[in-house]
Subunit: 131 residues, 3 copies
């Protein structure tokens, strides 16, 4: 049940291909082997009203937050996070070449005692791959 | 001070009545007896850019996150969460009948030492019910 | 790497200047001395679909959530939060005079073992202040 939410300043949509970002990070999450394919949900949340550091009009940010199921080791989570961050840095390389961009990633684990999920994609993917 | 935020893929607005969802979950939160009426804030956050599992165009998700005040027992929180999840499953029953939907609910507790609130609705409701 | 996200009901944009709110809270975060200038990211997330308490059409909310780096003392975090909440209350004083508004602030610390950041604003600001 991995969730990756990317909060970003609205101006980022003019500077970067956000659909490509979502798909690339989905692919990397899959490649880590940590996250089940049928549960990956990457999405962007655009923020129209912002105040970023010195308010330079070129200032932009992308704040990635992964919310994942409990049970993986710290090493596993750290490796997965590092791979996702590296992919985000590669995607945003043109922006990171200038002095106006803030990229971050944080991982939060769900409390398994207070977590529910109903997912019909897993079964469909399994059926399709068996067909 | 219960918060329920529902992040969802933008396409869910075409598949489901999101105002009805908010109202239904607000009602269920009230019915649990756990959450004070005047503090319930249910809201949806629509995500236009997404990558969900295999990118099937029908893929959609609703990710519910409750942020609540500390102090309830684990049992109380679990019962409340189960009731809210059951109501969400009922609302989304048509989508759960197919292989393209991911529904989830997580509960997070606030740290009471780092939590502030100023709410003018409680007093108004009390006044109105006394009138 | 402080993040301040303000989820709010969409109707708040008609009742309050959200750009001014973001800038004011950015300034207060800076004044606390707790948050590095070049890392401050304040943003609003507007929520079109909501259910707030009794559904009175004037009901509105602003839910502030700070996500900050680990390492400050509890006292320091509490003082910073209290200052930010006071500034938010001052900004929203007209709304707090009536019975239709919910304001809240919560602070969450990042897990330093699962936190990454790449920020090109710090270096630019340093360079500019040295020029």
């Amino acid at each position: 049940m991995p969730h990756l939410t990317i909060e970003h300043s609205a101006n980022l949509a003019d500077k970067s291909d956000l659909d490509a970002l979502c798909k690339r990070l989905r692919d990397v999450m899959l490649e880590t082997g940590v996250f089940p394919y049928g549960g990956i949900r990457v999405r962007c949340v655009s923020c129209a009203h912002v105040a970023i550091a010195d308010d330079h009009p070129d200032n932009a940010f992308a704040a990635l937050l992964i919310r994942m199921g409990a049970g993986r080791s710290d090493d596993t989570k750290h490796e997965a996070g590092a791979a996702i961050m590296a992919a985000a840095e590669a995607h945003f390389a043109p922006l990171l070449a200038d002095g106006y961009f803030m990229l971050s990633l944080d991982i939060v684990e769900n409390n398994p005692a207070l977590s529910w999920k109903t997912n019909t994609v897993h079964a469909r993917l399994k059926q399709e791959s068996a067909a």
